[in-house]
Structures are given as C-alpha cells and as structure tokens.
Amino acid sequence: MIAFLIKRLFHALLVMFVISIIAFAIQDNLGDPIQQMVGQSVPESEREALREQLGLNDPFVVQYLRFAGNALQLDFGYSYIFNEPTTEVIARHLPATLELVFATSLLIVLFSVPIGVYSAIRPRAWLSRLFMGVSIIGISIPVFLTAIMLIQLFAIGVSWSPFPADTGWGAWLNDLVSTEGGMPAYGRGRPVPVFGTWATNFASLEGLTYLVLPAISLASIMLPLFIRLIRAEMLEVLQSEYVKFARAKGIPLRRIYFIHALKNTMLPVITMGGVQIGTLVAYTILTETVFQWPGMGLMFLNAIQRSDVPLIITYLMIVGLIFVITNTLVDLIYGLVNPTVKLTGKPA
C-alpha cells in the first residue's frame, strides 16, 4: 500500500516535470507577454528593457533551469496579470472550481444511479425511453449552448404566447411555456468565507442559487453519459448467471437489484468516473467562461489570452497533479469495492 502511494508520488512528479518542459517549450507560441503589459504606443526600447528585466531574453535552458530551481522550492514565479505568486492566484481560484465540480458531481451521482438502474430494470417502460431520448439530446448539445439557453430561460426569462391569452386555458398554457427568469446569470455572488482563500456557496440559499445554472450546464454532458453507462452495465449484469441463480433461489428482487447487481455494475463506473472528473475540470473552462464563474477555468482562459506564461505553466502542472491524485483515489476505491484486485499488481 505504502509502496503503491510512493510510486504514485513519483508518477505525479514525473507528470509535472514533463508538463513543465512541454509548457516551457511552447511558450514562444503563447504570444509576447510584454505586448500585454504595455500600451500600444510604448517605444521598442522600453519594451526591450522590460524584457531584459524579466529575463525573457535568456536562452531556453537558462530560463528553464531558473524556473525548475525555483519550482523545487515551491516558487512557481509571478503571474504577469495578477502581479502575485502564481500559486496564490491559483489557490484563490481553486475553491470556486472545486465547488462547481463538487456540485456537478453531486447532481450526477444523485440522478445517474436511480435513472440508470430504473431504465435497466424496465427497459421498455415509456419513462425509460424518455430518459434515453433526453440523454441523447444532452450529449449532443455543446456545453456553452446549454449554458446560454439556461441563461435565456431562467435568468432573463422568455414570454411566449402561442395560445389565446384571453381564454383561461390559453393563459394557463402560456404561463406554462413562458419562464420568469430571475436566476443569477453570472458570477458567484458573495460567497461566505470559510478559511484562507476558501469561500463557499453552500452556506446560504442565495449562494446556492448562483451554483444552480452552472452546475446543471456542466452536468448536462456528463450526466447522460453516466446514465447510459450505468444502464448498459446493469443490463449486462442482469443477464449474468449469478443473478439468474439468485432469482431462481427466490431472493427478493429489490435485494438482487440493489445489493448484488448494483455492486458489480459500479466497478467500471468508478473507473470511468475518476477519469471523467479530470475531464470535468477541462469542461469548467467553457462553463466558467459563459457564467463568468471566478474559478480556475476562467483564470486559465484569461491567462492564455494575455500570454501570462508563468500562470499557464503552473495551472497545467496543477491540473496534471489533480489527474494523478484522482486516478490514485480511483484505484484505492476500486480495491475496496473489488478485493480481488491487488494494488501492487501481484497476482492474487
């Protein structure tokens, strides 16, 4: 177990090292940070002085060694746009992203399991078909489109009147297809500080309203994926010998479905889930941009647009670290759920 964790720690370091080399190698293609720092009419001589001062004229190897030496002491440099150490900038933006990902994961877990199981148990029921149909639509609409539609419907509101408004039933139907709006369209309001850089949206009802639309649009891609995955796995498990045997033995159906079958269904789902959490971090870039959610995704996009190379590199390294950590956790959980799998890789 310990050996496994140490091995993973080396993985993490290796991943971060490789990312930093790649990021450093492409930094020339990320644009000229000086251009972003000075006004357009600033003469070339001033720019050159600034470039020299920031050490941007040094050869690649010198720049990289300087960076790596500092990084080993946990100093990842100064962000050009925030004028703060990049680690502090990320620490400030991380909680917002984690809260969004957490809220989204909550939505996914709460909805995907019951819906997936139901549509596997009753594959021909009209409700199952409805779920499957809606999930196809969910997968095919890009996140930013979902987000903009949600904003239009629930933040701005739409009033449609396809039915005669002067009749009672018409007005009622019009009300039904129109929406009020009023949900917050951007940002996270005023989250309640917890400690350090962490302020939470979960502490008040008002804070939660800010989370609703971004979390739904972020979940809109992942949720259908998980519903379909759970359904497919469950269908397969339900066909297996041991389930047939259990039914023949007369074990209550509820027990078969939710204890025996579900457990085995969840194995591949957990693996998928771990990988997908990493992807979720990537999708937050789109969601956070549309909703102006002040998390890492929005910060990263700003950093790219303004050639903030130190911040870009630190972000990529930290995201790499998050990937390694989530995969390690997935492996640990997998071992708990399925004791036949040994972490050390030795045959049982």
Binding site: S41, E44, I81, Y186, R306
Partner: protein, 524 residues
C-alpha cells in the same frame, strides 16, 4: 437581498474610509456595472490603456477633461494662459482634498508630472514637457522644450496624485512611488486621488467596489451614485445577459451581434457613438514590389468596399473611412469619401501592368477588434475581383503582435487610437518613415516613407497657431489619401447600454471615459 448587500457594503465602506458617516443612509444608490475587463492595477501610471484611464476618471480628476464635443472643460485647473511660446501658466482649483484628507496643491501636480516622465508607458507622451514648476500653492507653470500646441491635450492625462500619500517607503522598505510592471508596489494596491470615488475593494478579475468620496470638491456635479460594484464580464453573451436579466445596470462594450437585441428590449437603453479608432490595412512596400507603385495601392483602395463592410459586416456599427482623422480632429478633411469603384481599380491595375494580378499574404488578429477576422476575409474576397490572390491567416491577438512586429505578411491589419486625440499621432506611428532609433513609424507596416510629410508634421507640432496647424495636418491627410499610403477601412463605433433609469447618455464620450462621478440614476 439588494438592501442587505447595500447595508453590508456601506458598513465596510465606513470602516475602510474612516470617514464618519452621519448615519447609514437608507436611500443609497448603487450602480452595478460590468465592463469586459477590470483595470490591471490601481497605479494609474503603470499602463497607458483604456481600462487604467477609466479608473483614473473615477478615482482622480484630470487638470482638464474632454467634453462630448471634443473641447476642454476645466477640472482641477480652473484657468490657463500662454505666457510665451513655450510656457503655459495654469491656475489650480482651491479647496480640493485628496481621499486621504491631504489638501491638493501645486506641488502635487509637479510631483505627478515628474512621475509620469518616469513611467515607461507615459514618458513618450510627456517627452515635450521640459519641466513643471509651482509658482505658489495654486499656480503652476508648464515649460515645453519647444513650442507645443497640444499642451491641453496632454493636460487631460495629468491626474494629480496625492504626493504626501505616495511618498516614503512601504512595509517592505520599497519606495511608495515606484512604478512596477510585474510585481507588487505600494501604488498598485493603494490609491488616494481627488476623484468622486474611493476604492473600497479590489479582487482582481472578479470584483471591484467603489464608494462616493465624502469630501469630493465638485458640489455642482449632478451625480447621485453612492456606491459602485464593478464585476468584469469578459464573455460578450454573458455581459448582455447580465444586463437583460437585471443583474447589472450598465455594461460596455455592447457586442455588435447583440445590438438589435439590446435596442429592442423595453427596459434597457442603448447608446452608440462613432468612435475614433481607425481600422486600416498596411500594404508592405518592402515585401511586395508592386506596392511601391502608387497606382497599385490606389487600385487596392478602389477595390475595397468600405461602406459594404460597415453596413453589412459591422451592421452599421462602424463609420466608413477614407482617412485617419475622425470628425472633430484637426486634420479631418471633410471632402474625403470612400472611393469604392471596381472598374477604376481594374483599370489602375492594368495601367500598372498587373492586370493578371499577383499573390500576397495577409494577416489579421481574430479577437482584437470588432469582427476583425471577418473583415479580413471580406477584404480578401474583394481583392480577388482584381485578380489578387490572398493567402489569409488570422491569429489571436496574443500571437498577432509578435508577427506584426516582424512584418510577417504583405498586408497586415491594425487599429489605432491617437492617445493625444490629435491627427499628427496617426502619422507619427503609422505612416512616418520607419526609424528604429527615434521610434518613428513604429507601426508602419507599409514601410511607406515620404520625408516631405514627416517634415510637415514636425513643423505642425511646433505650430501654436491652431488654425494654421490644422491646415498643415489636413494637407498630410490629403497627401496620404492621394498616394493611398494605406487602406483605411472604418472607425469602429462605441456602444454602451444601461437600465432605463440610469442616465448614461450625458456622461459618455468618444474617448470611452464615462464620467461616472456625474452619473444620475433616476429613483422610481
């Protein structure tokens, strides 16, 4: 919810400004606004950019400022007179106080100009100024090296800073007045000006809060905003949605694609103005021999339909241009009109011996100006009609400027706004003979060079008779037009939008410095 926020904010505000409020005013007026970005720093000398100047107008006051019709309005300077060719005497306003409580005097102006002359971004602008001296507490004299006709334009950039507040050293032992581009400085996080608002909170990229300054000198200002919450929203669609859903009261800029939507909404108002930023294409004479022939350059200008681009592509959100200077600038020549004429273009190409056309490369940014990439595509398509094959590449602005500095393509797009609000500036940066040492023609990707024009502009910059000077600058515009030095496309319009009860129209101007101190929000 809003009331709770307002109360909380005023409590914070009271604690931060240390000013004793008579009582927590129940009828506080709050403006919630969203620009596309927030200022990079609280140090107004750190960067010469629109965002910093907008901040300057909220928290400081200039000596003089522009009015909507491009004339000067006294602010901290109440009067000025030319003593001799190189000296101007200015009388300063009395009884003005900084946010810190320090009184505003002539020494603050002297201190500020000296700091401007040290700022990498502003020093070029203040190059003509030899010195500023305080005659007494309320009088200063500005001396220029040579007669300088644009001293008042320059005075719009002098926002006197609180010299006592910014003097000494901070906790780290660094001087408080140092200007640091990358890193922390006292001035980038602390602010004391004479302006209508104090900064209460600044979370970079997320939120900025302002409180009206109790001791603001301008009692005649109609402004009634007590509190401003600025949330930068970089995503165009979200910014518009935030206004339409009532989450914010004032947004800028309004993206052209959403103009109709905003205009048609009953609860919000849209204000547009013809801007002063000119969008042009350079035709590089060093890279393409054909461009050395004025007839070819003219043919290009004749082949490009500026009005079509402004109407259809920009949806009327641009003013087609045939010169650099927009209306109101000294060098603007009324008679110059866009000259789209395809037959004429073909004829000129034939005369120059290029009836068969030729091949060129073109580059444009794709996220810097409104519809920049689409404009470049349209121009490429128009040039195809005179048999010119265009190899177009569009890039994000972060990468584009490096390519621009390398003059990497035969035709390159650039937009230019004259920092001095003056015609000579266009020539100095865009069409003057390139000279790396003096910095002249820094953005002249045409490599166009006409020494006679350089001489004329240099003379104009010493001409204090403004009418005579205007004539000279108009002659420059006319020559550049006749020789088709570049392809002018249009002046990009500006657009702002607000809730109906927020009276933004009177406080806006083509410089895009909303004078929020004078903003009136009507109470229902």
């Amino acid at each position: 919810m809003t009331l709770k926020k307002t109360l909380l904010a005023s409590v914070i505000g009271a604690a931060m400004t240390t000013a004793v409020l008579p009582s927590v005013a129940s009828a506080e007026t709050t403006l919630r606004m969203a620009y596309d970005a927030d200022p990079v720093s609280l140090d107004i000398h750190e960067q010469l950019s629109g965002g910093i100047l907008q901040l300057s107008h909220m928290t400081f006051d200039p000596l003089v400022r522009w009015t909507q019709d491009l004339s000067f309005e006294p602010r901290l300077a109440t009067g000025w007179e030319q003593v001799d060719d190189t000296t101007m005497r200015m009388t300063l306003r009395e009884g003005v106080e900084f946010h810190s409580g320090n009184p505003f005097t002539a020494k603050d102006v002297v201190w500020t100009v000296e700091r401007l002359k040290r700022s990498p971004d502003f020093k070029a602008l203040f190059e003509p100024v030899e010195s500023v001296t305080a005659i007494d507490d309320t009088t200063i004299e500005i001396t220029t090296r040579e007669p300088y006709p644009l001293l008042l334009n320059l005075a719009t950039y002098i926002f006197p800073m609180d010299s006592a507040f910014y003097s000494g050293t901070d906790a780290d032992g660094d001087p408080k007045d140092e200007i640091v581009k990358n890193g922390n400085s006292f001035a980038s996080a602390h602010l004391s000006g004479t302006g209508p608002f104090t900064v209460v909170e600044h979370q970079k990229g997320t939120r900025m809060e302002f409180e009206r300054f109790d001791g603001y000198w301008d009692d005649e200002s109609p402004g009634n905003v007590d509190h401003i919450v600025h949330t930068p929203i970089s995503e165009n669609a979200t910014r518009v949605a935030a206004l339409l859903s009532g989450d914010v009261d004032f947004i800028a800029p309004v993206p052209p694609n959403d103009l109709e939507r905003v205009r048609e909404d009953d609860d919000v108002q849209l204000v547009t103005m013809s801007g002063t930023r000119i969008i042009i294409f350079h035709m590089n004479q060093a890279r393409v021999e054909a461009f050395q022939d004025p007839r070819v350059r003219q043919a290009f200008v004749y082949a490009i339909n500026q009005e079509g681009i402004a109407d259809r592509l920009m949806k009327g959100f641009a003013t087609p241009a045939a010169q650099f200077s927009p209306k109101g600038y000294a060098g603007h020549v009324e008679s110059l009109e866009p000259r789209y004429d395809l037959e004429k273009a073909k004829q000129l190409m034939e005369e120059a011996g290029y009836a068969e056309g030729f091949e060129i490369s073109m580059m444009a940014p794709n996220n810097r100006y409104v519809n920049d990439a689409k404009i470049a595509q349209a121009v490429a398509a128009m040039l195809a009609r005179i048999n010119v094959t265009v190899d177009l590449k569009t890039l994000p602005k972060a990468q584009y400027w490096g390519e621009f500095d390398d003059r990497a393509a035969d035709m390159m797009m650039i937009g230019w706004h004259a920092d001095t609000e003056d015609s000579a500036n266009f020539h100095e940066y865009l069409t003057a003979c390139p000279d790396a040492d003096s910095g002249a023609g820094q953005y002249n990707a045409s490599n166009y060079c006409n020494p006679a024009l350089d001489k004329l502009v240099a003379e104009a910059n010493l001409e204090v008779d403004l009418e005579k000077r205007a004539e000279m600058l108009q002659q420059v515009e006319q020559t550049l037009h006749d020789e088709a030095a570049v392809v002018p496309l249009h002046w990009q319009d500006l657009a702002w939008a607000s809730a109906d009860n927020v009276m933004i129209e009177p406080i806006l101007n083509v410089m895009n410095f909303p004078y929020l101190g004078d903003l009136v929000i009507k109470q229902e």
